[in-house]
């Protein structure tokens, strides 16, 4: 299998929260797509924006930067942690201790 170049983002409403679900690799090539989805989710008047990283296979510094930006600007930004690769990066840069971790979205 080719390295996952496929990337998609979906978003949904779960009560007062917007859940953004990226699938694939978050890097320079896909970051704009994810940024747009987060901006759109935040614009719907929700009180909470959740980024569900469970289907993310890779995240680089561009993704980290986006996370920092989201923590600073979005209402009650939280992250549903992903697999070992995402967790490794979170640990590496210190996000692990700083970002609000949500075990699962409210509608699950």
């Amino acid at each position: 299998m080719e390295l996952g170049r496929e990337f998609s983002v979906t978003r949904r409403r779960a009560g007062d929260a917007a859940v953004v679900v990226p699938e694939g690799e978050i890097d320079l090539a896909t970051i704009d797509q994810l940024q747009n989805a987060l901006d759109a989710a935040a614009g719907t008047g929700v009180t909470e924006v959740l980024l569900d990283l469970r289907s993310v296979t890779f995240i680089d510094s561009a993704g980290v930067r986006l996370m920092l930006e989201a923590m600073r600007t979005l209402p009650s930004f939280g992250v549903v942690p992903g697999g070992p690769e995402v967790n490794r990066v979170f640990k590496l840069v210190g996000l692990e201790e700083r970002v609000r971790i949500v075990d699962h979205p409210p509608d699950e």
Partner: protein, 664 residues
């Protein structure tokens, strides 16, 4: 007595016989005249009605009182004394009814009937030929028939029109050589067309020629036409039928497509736009023009950057002309105006009056005449709607005129060339900036540190990316040496300036404060002050004597290779520029002789291979057994090069140090 009577009788009989003979002779002469007259009528041709009219005039009253000739089956005069069928080639085609001659004339009447039938049949054949000729005349395809000498025996009006004649008659009245000489004709591959290559000629020479594609330029009008010529032999006659199809529109469209495809290839081949423009000029000659010049504005004039001409002597002449008479940007007409207004110009039929108007200087005008210009197209090179240069295409020797389709093609060429030049320029400027910035991001050379050996590797991401990203540095502080690698997110000018800031803040703070932790804290605050989120990661080693202090700020931990085995050293810490209250843990490593310490950025582990990324495990494996800093750097480089698939997405930086064994 009887003898005399007999003699008289004989004499009388002889006299009577003589009289009969005379009569018969007279009748024979008459019949001979009739037969001869009939033969003349047969040979003279004419329509059916004319044939009938002439035969009646011949036979009445010389042979009959009345004569009725009917074509086809029909009733004839019931009072006729003789009725004979008109037969030709075993077929009855009509009847002749006569009043006057006796039955004994029947044999002769049948003989006459045969002649009449033949004449009538010829008349009908001729009328069929007329009908066919009329049909051919209405065809859109040009049709000509030529004999074995090459002379035209027939041409329809389409053929006349295609060859530039007002009528078929005018065409047929023109000698074949004159028809040929009116055009300059070429084969599809551009070679001059030879007469013996024409299908009709080859047919007459006993060959079986296929269709021939011919490009013909009318010598006096300059009009260019593309034709397909097919020839077929007429069985039993030494004639060839030519069908000439005009495929100019189809051929032009095809050539335009092919031309633009080649243009696209050339434009994509290089970012050196002056070379590219020279190639573009070469491409247009001789297909689109005899002479092509590309000019770009340069201060107050148009500077010719590329010239192409089919004839090397003329090329020199054209170059000299461009140098001697550069076009000022303020010129009211011509290329300067095209550049100003961004609208193309087609000048058809360049006359002396036109030249006098456009080129007031007599010497210059004489030079222009030397170019033998007949028609010209000047098109702007457009980039984002703005003219950034002009392409001039001139028709001279070929004598061809430019059609609307040619101008459209030239305009398209101008658009594409304009975009390519603009992109190449932007790239060139960007490369300059990138190179300048890059020099600011990396140390000119690694310092000599007593008792330590350093090695580094920097693999910038693909050329299409701007600088930014990774950096490394090594410098002395009052308390020891600092070695570091770092990575800022993002690309472009912002990232580059941030990288510069990171490197210089760490260096200044490190040297002034002598404390690596304080340097990280300083950079953390400095980055927080930036308007944009500007996180940055750093791995830092402070070497003092034999002890190394390791700090990581959001960065992969350094690797220590001791006795051939690699392991990570240090602890993860928060990245810089994210949180104001961050602190970093300092881990101390006591170095021994032969130790190798490797600092690297995540460009190494994130490198893409066929199935996955390079990752930590492959890095540890690559470093297994290395004994020096140089070996470590080389080993990673080799492993990455072998592993990598596709373009490099991210910068990669490696900085290694080793503690040489004593005596090494």
């Amino acid at each position: 007595m009887s003898g005399r009577v007999a003699a008289v009788g004989v004499a009388a009989a002889a006299a009577a016989a003589t009289a009969r003979s005379w009569r018969r002779l007279r009748a024979d002469r008459q019949r001979y005249a009739l037969i001869r007259g009939a033969a003349l009528i047969v040979d003279s041709g004419g329509t059916t009605a004319e044939v009938i009219q002439r035969f009646r005039a011949l036979l009445v009253p010389a042979f009959a009182d009345e004569c009725e000739i009917t074509v086809g089956a029909g009733d004839h005069d019931p009072g006729a004394t003789l009725a004979v069928p008109l037969r030709s080639r075993g077929r009855t085609i009509g009847t002749m009814a006569l009043r006057g001659p006796s039955r004994s004339d029947r044999e002769f009447a049948v003989l006459l009937g045969g002649r009449i039938a033949l004449a009538l049949e010829n008349a009908q054949l001729e009328s069929r030929e007329d009908w066919l000729t009329t049909a051919l005349g209405t065809l859109a395809e040009a049709v000509t028939i030529q004999d074995h000498n090459g002379a035209l025996v027939y041409a329809n009006s389409a053929a006349a029109g295609a060859l530039g004649f007002a009528s078929a008659e005018e065409l047929l009245a023109t000698p074949p050589q004159a028809i040929i000489d009116a055009y300059e004709s070429f084969n599809e591959d551009g070679s001059p067309l030879r007469l013996e290559q024409l299908p009709a000629r080859r047919l007459m020479a006993g060959e079986s020629p296929g269709p021939l594609v011919v490009r013909a330029i009318h010598r006096s009008t300059g009009e260019e036409r593309w034709r397909i010529v097919k020839a077929t032999a007429v069985p039993g006659r030494r004639l060839a039928v030519n069908v000439i199809e005009d495929v100019t529109d189809v051929k032009r469209a095809e050539l335009s497509q092919r031309f633009l495809a080649e243009v696209a290839t050339v434009l994509a081949s290089s970012l050196d736009y002056e070379r590219t423009l020279a190639q573009i000029a070469e491409l247009t000659v001789p297909r689109l023009a005899d002479f092509c010049a590309v000019a770009l504005p340069d201060v107050d004039r148009l500077r010719t950057v590329a010239v192409a001409h089919a004839d090397p002597a003329k090329l020199r002449f054209a170059r000299d002309y461009q140098q001697r008479y550069p076009t000022p940007l303020s010129a009211a007409t011509g290329s300067a105006r095209v550049l100003r207004e961004g609208v193309s110009q087609l000048i058809d039929g360049i006359t002396d009056e036109l030249l006098e108007q456009a080129v007031p200087d007599p010497a210059q005008r004489a030079a222009v005449r030397g170019l033998g210009m007949r028609a010209a197209m000047i098109v702007p090179m457009l980039a984002r709607g703005r003219a950034i240069g002009v392409i001039t295409m001139v028709s001279a020797e070929s004598g061809r005129r430019f059609a609307q389709g040619d101008l459209e093609l030239a305009e398209e060429l101008g658009r594409r060339a304009g975009t390519a030049v603009e992109n190449a320029r932007l790239y060139r400027e960007r490369s300059h900036i990138a190179a300048a910035l890059q020099r600011g991001l990396l140390p000119d050379e690694l310092p000599d540190i007593p008792g330590l050996r350093l090695a580094s590797l920097y693999r910038p991401a693909g050329e299409e990316n701007l600088v930014g990203g990774d950096f490394y540095d090594a410098f002395a502080t009052p308390t020891g040496w600092v070695l570091l690698v770092g990575d800022v997110t993002g690309r472009g000018a912002d990232a580059a300036s941030q990288t510069g800031q990171a490197r210089h803040t760490l260096r200044t703070a490190g040297i002034l404060l002598g404390d690596p932790h304080a340097a990280l804290a300083q950079l953390n605050l400095a980055l927080r002050e930036r308007r944009e989120q500007a996180p940055c990661t750093v791995a830092l080693v402070h070497v003092s004597g034999r002890s190394a202090h390791v700090l990581c700020a959001g960065h992969p931990r350094p690797l220590l290779i001791r006795d051939g085995a690699a392991r990570t050293v240090g602890h993860f810490g928060p990245m810089l520029g994210a949180w104001p209250d961050s602190t970093w843990r300092t881990d101390r490593v006591d170095l021994v002789e032969g130790d190798v310490l490797v600092l690297y950025t995540d460009g190494v582990t994130d490198t893409r291979g066929d199935l996955e990324r390079f990752g930590d495990a492959r890095l540890l494996e690559a470093l297994r057994g290395v004994a020096t800093a140089a070996e470590a750097v080389a080993a990673v480089d080799v492993a990455l090069t072998a592993f990598q698939r596709g373009p490099q997405a991210d910068d990669t930086a490696i900085l290694a140090l080793d503690l040489p064994p004593l005596g090494a």
